[in-house]
């Protein structure tokens, strides 16, 4: 087995196991720590899929920003760990629905002819590296969505401040 494939399978299994632990563990802080492990493994998968810029953004935004936000709110809310039931009343119904949807997606992906493997080295980053290529695309062809995303972030920031500021 080639090293890249071995690394991919290791990263994928660690990511899936820690994702299971995110929704399985009773302590929310443990969930957050497993979540950061999942994000880092997914960032490694991005590197293997030749998306180095997205991997860097993943580490910075998810593992850096979003996780700190999660931990901050967990400390702020400060619920006693393990109080009451873990899952909702109709969890069996939800589990059946989830398993059925997963089986449907597996069936579609198994019958959809996705058998071709990725190319050896694509020419995505041939001209000066992945960061330059993505930046070029972002600031020329996708300039308007980029600006709209920044406005969206501004609106989200204002909304979060307004929501968390006062007692209603």
């Amino acid at each position: 087995m080639a090293p890249a494939a071995a690394v991919f399978y290791i990263l994928a299994s660690v990511a899936l196991l820690s994702a299971v632990m995110v929704i399985w563990s009773r302590n929310v802080v443990h969930s957050a720590i497993y979540l950061v492990l999942t994000f880092l493994c997914v960032a490694g998968v991005y590197v293997l899929l030749r998306a180095e810029f997205v991997a860097a953004v993943q580490v910075l935004v998810y593992a850096g920003g979003i996780l700190v936000l999660f931990l901050f709110v967990i400390m702020l809310v400060n619920l006693a760990a393990g109080t009451g039931r873990r899952v909702r009343v109709h969890a069996t119904v939800s589990a059946v629905v989830g398993c059925a949807a997963t089986a449907l997606l597996l069936y579609v992906s198994a019958s959809g002819g996705l058998e071709t493997s990725f190319g050896a080295r694509t020419d995505l980053s041939a001209q000066g590296g992945n960061l330059q290529a993505v930046g070029w695309a972002l600031y020329t062809q996708y300039l308007l969505p980029f600006e709209i995303a920044s406005v969206l972030l501004l609106v989200a920031m204002i909304g979060a401040i307004v929501l968390a500021r006062q007692k209603y």
Binding site: A4, F8, L16, A19, V20, V22, I23, V28, S31, A32, T38, F39, V42, Y46, L49, R50, A51, F53, V54, V57, Q58, I66, L69, F70, V73, I74, L76, V77, L79, R85, V87, A91, S94, A95, G98, T102, L105, L106, L114, E115, T116, S117, F118, G119, A120, T122, D123, L124, V134, Y142, A149, L152, L153, V155, M157, G159, A160, L163, A164, K167
Partner: protein, 101 residues
């Protein structure tokens, strides 16, 4: 690279399924938000895998946009959780049934 495209897609599919089961079954609103993040990560893996397969950068550009939207979503969601905790003293979603009629 000898990783088959189907394996990356199956990985993202399993990640999405785990996130979906978390959203559907857990009571804690913070864990539900974490599960939504897992599902967004799965969508990102799909974007990048299909972009690599199609020899196109659009997948990576969309993944960057998805990460931006996820950041905004988690900020607003956690603010809602905070406001919920201040007003109702709980973050368990099945104890919040004001709008249930």
């Amino acid at each position: 690279m000898p990783v088959p495209a189907a394996h990356a897609l199956i990985f993202s599919l399993l990640l999405f399924a785990i996130g979906m089961v978390g959203v559907l079954t857990r009571r804690n609103a913070i864990v539900i938000l974490m599960s939504i993040e897992l599902m967004m990560n799965a969508a990102n893996i799909n974007f990048i895998a299909f972009g690599l397969r199609a020899h196109d950068l659009v997948g990576q550009v969309f993944a960057v946009f998805t990460i931006a939207v996820a950041a905004g979503e988690v900020a607003v969601g956690l603010a809602v959780v905070l406001a919920l905790f201040r007003n109702r003293d709980t973050i368990f979603v099945d104890e919040v049934h004001i709008m249930k009629g």
